[in-house]
C-alpha cells in the first residue's frame, strides 16, 4: 500500500469516527452455515471453505455485513465501521481473490436521522476518494409497492428490477405490455426508470409521479431524506432508480456511489430490513461498503516510482544516514536508503551523501 492509499484509508477512518462509529474488528472465519442460508445476499455464491479442527465447516469471510448483523446487540442502536479483507470469486475473475473493503453498519432502532447520517457518510466517503463523485439514491420499498400495484408476479418483478438496473426502457415497455399492466401504472414505472434528477428536485418530480400510488408515509420520508441530501451535498447526490439491489434483503433506500476514473460503482448499500428479518432480528439496519480494490488504481500514479526518494549513502556512517533519511522523508515521502544505486528501479529524486550532506542528483 502506498502513501496515497494509506492517506485515503486514514481519511475514511476519520469520516467514520467523527460520526461516532467505532471500529469493528473481526475474525477472518465464520461458520459456513451463515452464508449457505443467505447466498442471495452475497455478491458471489462461491465461498472458500475448510473443516476446522473440531469438524465444523468454516468459511473465509466473503462478506462483512452478515457477521456484524449476526452478532449485533438486541437493544439500542449500534454504529460500527470496518476495514477488512473478504474472500470471493469476483465477477469475471477465474479464481478467488482477497478484496479490501471499508464500510459501516447502523443497526437497531434506526430512525430518520440515522438514515440521513449514513447517506451523508457515504457522500463524504466518496468525496474523500475523489473530487469527482456521485451518489445515486433510490427506494426499493417504493419501487416494490408500485410493482405490486401493477400486479406483477415474482418472476416479472425480478425481470423489471433487472431492466431498471440497465436503464432499459425499450425492454421495460415490452415487459409491461406483455404483463398487461394498467396504462397509468405502466407510465409511472417507465418514468421512474428514466428518472435521473438532482435530489433538490426530488419532491417536484416524485410527488406528482407517485402520490396516490405508494404509501404516503414512505414517499414523504424518502422526499425528506432527498431534501436533506440536496441541501447538505448539493450537486453530488441524485435520485436514480437504476440503483437496485436484491429486494429479498434490501427493503428501503438503496444507493450506489461512483467516482471519476473507476468504471463501476465503488460504494453500495441500503436499508436491509429483509436481511434482518431473515436472520430473525426484530430491528432495522442500514449500511454500506466501499470496494477499496476498485479505488486503488486512482492512487497508482504515485507508484510510477519504486520510492519517492533514493538516498545513496556510500560510506557515510549509520547516524548520518538515519538523520538525512528522516529529514528527506519528513514522515510523508518514501525514502529508500542504499549503499549503491540499484539497477532497474525508478525514483522521483535521487540524493547522494557527500561529506555528511545530502546532494541531489540533477
Amino acid at each position: 500500500m502506498n502513501y496515497a492509499q494509506n492517506r485515503l484509508h486514514e481519511k475514511l477512518r476519520t469520516v467514520f469516527e467523527t460520526a461516532g462509529y467505532r471500529r469493528y474488528k473481526m475474525s477472518k472465519f465464520e461458520e459456513y452455515d451463515l452464508y449457505a442460508k443467505n447466498k442471495d445476499f452475497l455478491v458471489s455464491e462461491n465461498v472458500l471453505t475448510f473443516t476446522d479442527l473440531d469438524g465444523r465447516l468454516m468459511a473465509l469471510k466473503p462478506d462483512v455485513t452478515l457477521s456484524i448483523v449476526k452478532n449485533s446487540a438486541a437493544e439500542g442502536v449500534e454504529k460500527v465501521y470496518y476495514h477488512e479483507n473478504v474472500y470471493r470469486a469476483s465477477n469475471g475473475s477465474l479464481g478467488f481473490r482477497e478484496i479490501a473493503q471499508a464500510g459501516l453498519e447502523c443497526i437497531g432502532d434506526v430512525d430518520e436521522y440515522c438514515v440521513c447520517e449514513v447517506l451523508g457518510l457515504a457522500a463524504k466517503s466518496l468525496s474523500a476518494i475523489s473530487d469527482s463523485h456521485e451518489l445515486d439514491v433510490s427506494h426499493l420499498g417504493i419501487l416494490c409497492e408500485l410493482t405490486d400495484r401493477a400486479g406483477l408476479d415474482a418472476g416479472a418483478k425480478k425481470e423489471l428490477l433487472r431492466l431498471f438496473g440497465e436503464k432499459n426502457t425499450g425492454e421495460l415497455k415490452k415487459l409491461l405490455e406483455r404483463e398487461s399492466v394498467a396504462v397509468d401504472c405502466a407510465e409511472r414505472l417507465i418514468k421512474l426508470s428514466q428518472l435521473d434528477a438532482d435530489t433538490k428536485d426530488a419532491a417536484k418530480v416524485l410527488r406528482p409521479l407517485l402520490s396516490g400510488y405508494v404509501s404516503e408515509d414512505a414517499l414523504e420520508l424518502f422526499l425528506s431524506t432527498c431534501d436533506f441530501l440536496g441541501e447538505e451535498f448539493p450537486g453530488s447526490v441524485r435520485v436514480d432508480f437504476s440503483a437496485v439491489g436484491d429486494i429479498g434483503y434490501y427493503s428501503g433506500i438503496y444507493f450506489v456511489g461512483y467516482v471519476g476514473g473507476v468504471p463501476s460503482g465503488v460504494l453500495s448499500g441500503g436499508q436491509y430490513g429483509g436481511l434482518m428479518k431473515k436472520l430473525g432480528k426484530p430491528s432495522r439496519a442500514i449500511g454500506f461498503a466501499i470496494c477499496l480494490d476498485l479505488v486503488d488504481p486512482l492512487f497508482s500514479k504515485a507508484e510510477a516510482f519504486d520510492a519517492d526518494v533514493l538516498l545513496v549513502y556510500h560510506d557515510a556512517d549509520a547516524k548520518t544516514v538515519y538523520k538525512i533519511a528522516s529529514k528527506l522523508s519528513g514522515g510523508k515521502r518514501s525514502v529508500l536508503s542504499l549503499r549503491e544505486a540499484p539497477e532497474g528501479m525508478r525514483f522521483g529524486e535521487v540524493y547522494n551523501i557527500v561529506g555528511g550532506e545530502a546532494v541531489r542528483e540533477r
Binding site: E134, G170, Y258, S264
Partner: protein
C-alpha cells in the same frame, strides 16, 4: 476513460459499418474512419467523439471496463455475458433471432439427456433450465450446424438470420428463444460523468432511426 471525448466501441464487420453510418447520420461523422489506413482509433474533436473497432463479442467488455464510454453490441452478446452496463437504445440493426434448430426428422426423446451444441452456453443453459430439461452443453466456436449432422449433438442453439444455412444443411428451427438486434450500451460510471453528451448521442441516434 479518456478525456472529454466520448469513446465509442464499434463492432467490426458489416454490422459495425451500418452502426457507423447511423452515428454519421446522427451527426457524429468522422472523416478519419472513412479512410482508415493502419490506424486503430479515429476521432473527430469537432463533435467530441472517438471510435475504435473491436471484435463484436468484445464490445460489451470494453464498455463494462470503461475503456469505451458507449458501444453497440448485439442482444445475443448481452444476454450471454450479462455485462454490468446500461442498455440505452435498440438501434434496430442486425435483426435476427436466437433459436433451437435440429435435423428435420428430430424428435425430442425426453428419456435421454439432450445434447446441445452452441456458441452461447449461458443462454442455452438458462433456456433449458427454465423448462426443466436435462441437457449436456457442447461449446463450439463456429460451424455449429455441423454438430447435429455428424451426430455430435441432438440440437443446436444459435443465431438464425434468414434460415438459408439451416435449410441447406437439412436443419430447421424448432423454437425461437428471443429476437436479437443491436443495442446502444453505456458504461455506468461514464454515464454519470458524461451524462449530457451520452444522452445527446442517444437522442440523436433515436432521431436518426426514425
Amino acid at each position: 476513460m479518456n478525456g472529454d471525448m466520448i469513446n465509442v466501441a464499434l463492432p467490426k464487420g458489416r454490422l459495425g459499418d451500418n452502426v457507423y453510418d447511423l452515428f454519421a447520420a446522427a451527426g457524429y461523422r468522422c472523416p478519419e474512419i472513412e479512410n482508415p489506413g493502419r490506424r486503430l482509433t479515429f476521432e473527430n474533436p469537432d463533435v467530441g467523439i472517438r471510435y475504435f473497432w473491436v471484435k463484436p463479442s468484445d464490445v460489451a467488455i470494453y464498455v463494462e471496463k470503461g475503456a469505451a464510454d458507449i458501444g453497440v453490441a448485439g442482444k445475443d452478446i448481452l444476454l450471454e455475458y450479462s455485462p454490468d452496463v446500461y442498455e440505452l437504445l435498440d438501434v434496430g440493426l442486425g435483426r435476427c433471432r436466437m433459436a433451437v434448430a435440429a435435423p428435420k426428422d428430430f424428435r425430442d426423446d425426453t428419456r435421454k439427456t439432450l445434447r446441445v451444441a452452441t456458441k452461447f452456453p449461458n443462454i442455452a443453459k438458462r433456456h433449458y433450465s427454465s423448462i426443466g430439461r436435462d441437457i449436456d452443453i457442447i461449446k463450439l466456436n463456429g460451424s455449429i450446424e455441423l454438430a447435429p449432422i455428424l451426430g455430435l449433438s441432438d440440437v443446436i442453439v444459435d443465431i438464425v438470420e434468414t434460415g438459408a444455412t439451416l435449410k441447406q444443411n437439412n436443419l430447421e428451427v424448432f423454437s425461437t428463444l428471443f429476437d436479437i438486434s443491436a443495442r446502444l450500451i453505456a458504461n455506468k460510471a461514464s454515464y454519470r460523468f458524461k451524462r449530457g453528451e451520452i444522452q445527446k448521442i442517444k437522442d440523436s441516434l433515436q432521431e436518426a432511426i426514425r
